[in-house]
Assembly symmetry: C2
Amino acid sequence: MAIGIKISLNEGLYQRDPQETTLGQKIIKNSILLIDEIGLEAFTFKKLAQKMGSTEASVYRYFENKHMLLLYLVSWYWEWVSYLIDFNTMNIEDPVRRLRIIIKTLVSAQKENPAIDYVNESVLHRIIIAEGSKAYHIKAVDEENNKDFFFNYIQLTKKVAQVILEIKSDFPYPRALASNLFEMANNHIYFAEHLPRLTDVHVNDEDFSEVEQMLEFFAFSLLKCQKS
Amino acid sequence: MAIGIKISLNEGLYQRDPQETTLGQKIIKNSILLIDEIGLEAFTFKKLAQKMGSTEASVYRYFENKHMLLLYLVSWYWEWVSYLIDFNTMNIEDPVRRLRIIIKTLVSAQKENPAIDYVNESVLHRIIIAEGSKAYHIKAVDEENNKDFFFNYIQLTKKVAQVILEIKSDFPYPRALASNLFEMANNHIYFAEHLPRLTDVHVNDEDFSEVEQMLEFFAFSLLKCQKS
DNA sequence: TCTTAATAATAGCAATACTATCATAGATAA
DNA sequence: TTATCTATGATAGTATTGCTATTATTAAGA
């Protein structure tokens, strides 16, 4: 794993690029910890500033509001997963093996060696699981989609859909299967931990292997091919 | 469709039962319309009271806060879907046909003849699609789950999981498939309308037949059996 | 050394998320 | 019938949220 990757994100997501400054990095680092700790609803820029030893006004210079900060974190996460997928599937020809690696990466991204010291990938993963879908379940979804604010998620879907089509070129729902794998990966980790009667899998600590198995089962059953 | 069904919900969801009084019914009716209109984030009890010609304090006598109101609406919706499924699958023996009817009901519940005059089922359906998952993506999920606040969703999952097991008794993920069908039904209607590159299906107006087809394809491919 | 840019410190304001009190109108019970 | 009880309305008040604005200070660059 390379040190010092810069995750490249839509510039419209922030007012000032948080990756460029120490304060920006502190905002990212502490917002991840604080959202995880108290939840998105209770999270405010004032509390964040207090935790960081900075001020509300300074946080507002980086992000327009907490929704944009969430969108930034979500985009960061999916871009990072996308990077991991590229890295882990490099030089692998067989699309079936590529899809298996994609699924593994989806559920265990947080276990990779941390790439960037101001992002706790494991905690960020929890946030994506618990709050991620709130980033696009908003009234202004069309407007923000026009500004390409969901670019990273959509690109990743496209990438995985292409692998699916390599496996079975006439599969009728490649993008739906791809996005569903992402949603299921997160939902069923959440269900296993909080609403266990909505799923059949179990997780303990950070062992998500049952989720991985289930996603493989779903994907390869639909693609009517054996895991190789 | 019977007139005057009373949807029975966990009493912990409300302070005073809104189904019992005119004001309560007005709160349900207008909150559905207002959340749909301005979105959950912008929705407040003050705005609701203004729209209704009542007061903030009166609304608080029915619901502790807007989260509980959302949870009430979501529970109401799933209980109603559950009722429709029971009604529509009555006297049908073949579990494969039952599952097809369940899927149809999931995507087109809002088209059934309205059962209750103070609930606009079509608008409520839009709210569930756009905001429904926020009902359980909250910090207090475990606490609320202990109070059985997600009872209706969990029961419905159980019911559908049983049908799945009737089709294929050794299917390893009956509850996960059931809950995934619900999530997909809502997500892909939302995606088709707002983030079309995350799906392969299209919807126009209230024609969700492509979503229905896709869910059938997913379910029956996984269950490795033909639609009958 | 001068200038600029970034941050801190502080204030302020409108809206939100409630809680409390009191008045009143309608239904119910004595 | 009167008394009372209950639901709602009317009003007020408080702490917090979600910002914006102003000024001071500090660090970095020219």
